[in-house]
């Protein structure tokens, strides 16, 4: 876009989806993750490394909190003071929630992270100047900064390993912020194929890497606008609405028995990932 277009249409580029804008059409990518199915096995995380050219930072840098896992499994214990965790642990796959009013977008001084019409919070690497404001403002702490030049000076992909790199995903250099993209490269291919055939992307046609690997099929990904999509149906049944900061169902009788919820919804980032609560048996 030229600078003049940018100036003229500034508000169009800096909006709060979908609150004061037209609804997404024909695509709004969203996810739902069933925590009762998730076993915390880490397959999603490794699949993400494989798909998205994530560097392995090594022991030292991991210690400094510089791990680059776009998808991480958080592990929580019950906090009721029992001696043994006799109801197991709680696992939570955490990645960019693709917020509709993303706190990271508004603070980027160069507009390197912004909303796509598909409802994905995109990160434009070559535009990023590495101010790290976005990371500071992210309530989920899912943005990862390249503190080092992993491809060259750090030689994370020594000869042969570099042949594994996915050509559809940029290999990021030093000073760039990065994060989960909902595997936008896969979405792009699916959209391209659909467009060539004069149709929209079918439900299930595009899978994210984590979803495809997940041995318990805990992750669903799809088009929230498409009433036929699994994700749309799941959100509907769980009465979770994208553009609410407090769900109506929580005030209804029995509404809180529905498992769907979004993390830190009260901060009003309007995340695009719905989690389904883990269930624990009462009879035992």
């Amino acid at each position: 876009m030229s600078i003049s277009t940018l100036l003229e249409n500034y508000s169009e580029f800096r909006h709060f989806h979908p609150v004061d804008d037209v609804p997404h059409n024909p695509y709004k990518w969203a996810m739902s993750i069933d925590l009762d199915a998730c076993s915390g096995c880490n397959a999603c995380s490794v699949a993400c490394y494989a798909e998205n050219n994530l560097p392995v930072v090594g022991r030292e840098k991991y210690l400094h909190g510089q791990a680059m896992h776009w998808m991480r499994i958080e592990r929580y214990w019950d906090e009721d003071g029992r001696e043994f965790p006799d109801q197991g642990a709680q696992f939570l796959p955490m990645m960019c929630q693709q917020c509709e009013a993303a706190p990271c977008e508004t603070v980027c001084p160069v507009g390197a992270t912004n909303h796509t019409p598909d409802g994905i919070n995109s990160q434009i690497y070559n535009r990023c100047i590495g101010s790290r404001y976005c990371s500071a403002n992210c309530p989920y702490k899912v943005r990862y900064f390249n503190w080092y030049d992993y491809p060259t000076t750090d030689n994370v992909w020594p000869a042969e390993m570099n042949q594994q790199l996915n050509p559809d995903v940029t290999v990021r250099g030093k000073g760039v912020m990065e994060k989960c993209t909902f595997c936008i490269q896969r979405v792009t291919v699916a959209k391209n194929n659909a467009k060539s055939e004069g149709r929209l992307v079918h439900d299930g046609e595009v899978q994210t890497a984590c979803q495809q690997a997940c041995p318990t099929s805990a992750i669903s990904f799809g088009n929230l606008v498409d009433p036929e999509s699994r994700v749309h149906k799941q959100w509907q049944v769980q009465k979770v609405e994208l553009d609410k900061d407090a769900q109506t169902k929580d005030k209804e009788e029995g509404g809180s028995d529905l498992r769907g919820y979004r993390i830190l919804e009260e901060l009003r980032p309007y995340p695009s990932v719905m989690y389904l609560e883990r269930v624990r048996e009462t009879a035992i």
Binding site: L35, D36, S39, G40, C41, N42, A43, V46, A47, Y49, A50, V56, G58, R59, Y62, A67, R72, I73, E74, R75, Y76, W77, F84, P85, D86, Q87, G88, A89, L92, P151, P158, A159, E160, M161, Q163, Q164, N166, P167, V171, Q212, A213, C214, P215, T216, S217, Q234, V237, D257, R259, Y261, I263, L264, Y275, E277, R278, V279, R280, E281, T282, I284
Partner: protein
């Protein structure tokens, strides 16, 4: 994915031999300096379009579960593996270990040339010289003087290997796996009549697992994970309940509705206690069973195991009301001197509950017994080790196993191995065993080799998996194991094998010979059948089914009383099997090193799990470097305070602590195999992995534990982050 084509054409098409490989974002070439070349071919096929991926089916070789994979190939390079949806085993899914398979293939530390030991270093030699050397060393050696050690093998490789050894009259094929469910196999054989029945988790309403980490590293975890997901949804809307009994929480335990910590080794006692309780809940028990469990009343069992009487009652009530259920005997139950007894007692519970034939199902067998998997165990290692110690073997071969790393230190395997006259190791990397070899023969990676594989655990039907190259070989001087064996057998029986130029030709001929039996009756053309087979990557078969015996027997069931605490070595060492590193053969794949352990979230290092109560007693805090000492040695590692472990036990994960095997494995963590006590299961002779007694002492130094878990240490700080609902509130049947 369904392209039918000639595989050799495919490889020929890629004939621009690596040099012109266009690396994504990795070269510093540019138009200006003329370094950036365009991907160009001599000839093309319709399916080879630059920038568009093609997919080929093969089989994952990261563990023995036999998941079928689909490799994504672009511009001649394999970029990623996904699961093949047509496989009944993994149904399109993969685990983290499987995903890391590409890092086995592209590993920078692969051996590239045959290496001959000269003093303390290896000299690169040609394959001709290597083969000639083997022929020379094998000359005049009798069959008894040859030992072939391998990991689990199956399919045509096993046949070829058998024929090679037969040509010497050699019967010494030792199949060794350090963490195989060997005791459970034997117990299953006794209880059900087969070693490996099908465990249908998805059909069960309750799963009671005694230390079976079926979501992590047990038998066929990807298959079980999918079944688990169905089990949680419930066929009729009633959500399955998982109860896990173990002394150290596994990944499966972390997902249980009720995780019960038991005193190490008392799993069998608890199983009998539950049978007893079932009896008092009105489940009919046969006379001999009732007699056998009579003394296992709630109070005694509660005292022995540490599980409350109330909890035992609850489990019995649940098992009685919700049927069918499924009881699993896992590696935690079998790792004791009385492991067979533990497993037998647990299997008995299945019979009492009438699960045999319902959730414990008969499995089909592959109708070619010669291809059925030779499954590994630790008895094989012990026999070999004794033989080596006695100086019985002049030539020792080792393939797909790393005994110098995985054998307990007390066995002194490395010293004994040196007593063999000539040691040949077939290996991808210079691992600890290869370092001891006289001749190291470099292998093709699993993603560039041909082969067939028959999984031990046949999840839905009998099947033969096809392994085929997903790209051209990376290194010119590596060879496929099949090709090596073919070359070796030609030294012995040149006439019989001369018609096979290579292992590919052998494999093709072998498959086509049995075309009818392999599902190709209707296809007249050999090429079409062969190409279709390769394209599918799986041959599904109708195999014989051996019915399970459901007759419960308590003959010989004898469980020892729990061992009193040893004053000198007061703690039980539980060497834990982590889903990604397992026995350590994949420790040089950096994604796995950096993939946090799900429970502790620790990366790149070993740790000692210790219960906070015990830690407080010993004055240990997180990060203290502690020395864990057994009768057979000691290791030093960082302490991690972990609530999911019995206070009288500590746990160190297996798989790390390599002294060789390349940059990503060497020097990270410690190897608990080295300090194991040599205690064996009384019936099967298997190494009892959990029988080591240790003491823990502080060394005085402290480190910061490198882990993913934040400073809150697993607390949600009052926010609704990972939320949970009680089962009586949710209506799963109304969900999508």
């Amino acid at each position: 994915m369904n392209n039918v084509f000639d595989r050799r054409d495919f490889l020929k098409v890629l004939g621009w031999g690596g040099a012109a490989v266009a690396l994504s974002g990795c070269g510093n070439g540019s138009v200006e300096n003329g370094e950036e070349t365009v991907v160009s071919y001599v000839e093309t096929n319709d399916f080879m379009i630059p920038s568009i991926s093609v997919y080929f089916n093969s089989t994952c070789a990261q563990c023995d579960a036999g998941c079928s994979i689909t490799g994504r190939i672009r511009e001649g390079r394999v970029l990623k593996v996904e699961g093949n949806p047509d496989s009944g085993i993994n149904r399109g899914k993969t685990c983290g270990l499987g995903q890391a398979g590409v890092q086995h293939h592209y590993n920078p530390d692969r051996v590239r040339e045959p290496l001959l030991r000269t003093g303390n270093s290896g000299e690169a030699i040609t394959w001709e010289k290597a083969y000639a050397l083997i022929a020379e060393k094998m000359n005049g050696v009798s069959g008894e003087e040859i030992a072939f050690l391998s990991g689990g093998v199956s399919g045509h490789l096993k046949v070829l290997l058998g024929n090679y050894l037969d040509s010497f009259g050699c019967k010494n094929h030792f199949v060794y796996e350090a963490i195989a469910p060997a005791v459970v196999r034997a117990a299953n054989k006794k209880s059900y009549g087969v070693e490996m029945p099908r465990f249908n988790i998805s059909k069960a309403k309750v799963v009671l697992s005694f230390g079976a980490d079926f979501l992590g590293a047990w038998i066929s975890p990807v298959h079980f994970s999918q079944q688990y997901a169905q089990f949680r949804k419930g066929a009729d809307g009633q959500r399955g309940v998982l109860v896990q009994v173990e002394s150290k929480m596994t990944l499966t335990g972390a997902n249980a509705d009720r995780w019960l910590v038991v005193r190490p080794g008392t799993e069998g006692i608890l199983a009998l206690g539950i049978i007893n309780a079932l009896g008092s809940h009105g489940v009919a028990l046969s006379g001999d069973i009732a007699a056998a469990v009579k003394s296992y009343n709630k109070d005694r069992v509660s005292k022995d195991t540490g599980v409350s009487a109330e909890q035992i009652d609850k489990i019995a009530a649940l098992l009685k009301t919700r049927t069918p259920s499924l009881v699993l005997a896992g590696s935690a139950a079998e790792g004791y001197a009385h492991g067979s007894q533990n497993a037998a007692a647990i299997n008995l519970l299945n019979q009492v509950l009438g699960n045999v034939g319902k959730t414990v199902e008969a499995a089909e067998a592959v109708p070619f017994p010669q291809m059925a998997p030779a499954t590994g165990n630790t008895v094989a290692l012990k026999t070999l080790n004794d033989g080596l110690n006695a100086g019985k073997y002049k030539v020792l071969f080792s393939y797909a196993t790393n005994p110098v790393f995985t054998a307990p230190g007390v066995m002194k395997f490395q010293d004994n191995m040196a007593k063999a006259g000539f040691k040949v190791v077939f290996s991808h990397y210079m691992d600890e065993t290869a370092m001891q070899a006289d001749l190291v023969l470099p292998l093709d990676s699993a993603l560039e080799d041909w082969g067939t594989q028959v999984p031990e655990y046949l999840a839905t039907c009998a099947q033969i998996n096809i392994q085929q190259p997903l790209m051209e070989k990376l290194h010119a001087n590596t060879r496929g194991m099949g090709d090596i064996l073919l070359a070796l057998i030609k030294q012995r029986r040149a006439e019989d094998y001369k018609k096979f130029d290579d292992y590919y030709a052998y494999l093709r001929a072998a498959v086509l010979q049995n075309k009818g039996a392999l599902g190709g009756k209707a296809i007249a053309d050999d090429d079409i059948f062969w190409n279709e087979t390769l394209s599918k990557g799986i041959i599904k078969l109708e195999g014989p089914v051996k019915a399970l015996s459901s007759k419960a027997s308590v003959a010989g069931l004898m469980l020892p009383a729990p061992v009193a605490i040893d004053a000198q070595y007061p703690l039980q060492l539980i060497p834990s099997v982590n889903a990604s590193l397992r026995d350590g053969r994949n420790a040089n794949q950096p994604w796995l090193q950096e993939s946090p352990d799900p429970l502790t979230t620790i990366v790149w290092d070993s740790w000692v799990e210790i219960h906070p109560r015990k830690a407080a007693e010993l004055g240990i805090v997180e990060g203290d470097i502690v020395e864990v000492t057994s009768k057979n040695g000691s290791v030093k590692a960082q302490a991690y305070l972990f609530p999911g472990i019995h206070p009288d036990a500590i746990s160190i994960p297996l798989g790390r602590g390599h002294e060789a095997m390349g940059r990503y494995a060497k020097g990270y963590g410690v190897n608990p195999f080295q300090i194991l006590d040599a205690v064996f299961d009384k019936e099967t002779g298997e190494l009892a992995l959990h029988e080591t007694r240790v003491k823990v002492s502080k060394t005085g130094s402290r480190v910061i534990v490198v882990k993913d878990e934040g400073p809150a240490g697993g607390s949600q700080m009052g926010k609704k982050i990972a939320a949970r609902l009680p089962s009586d509130k949710v209506k799963l049947s109304e969900e999508i």
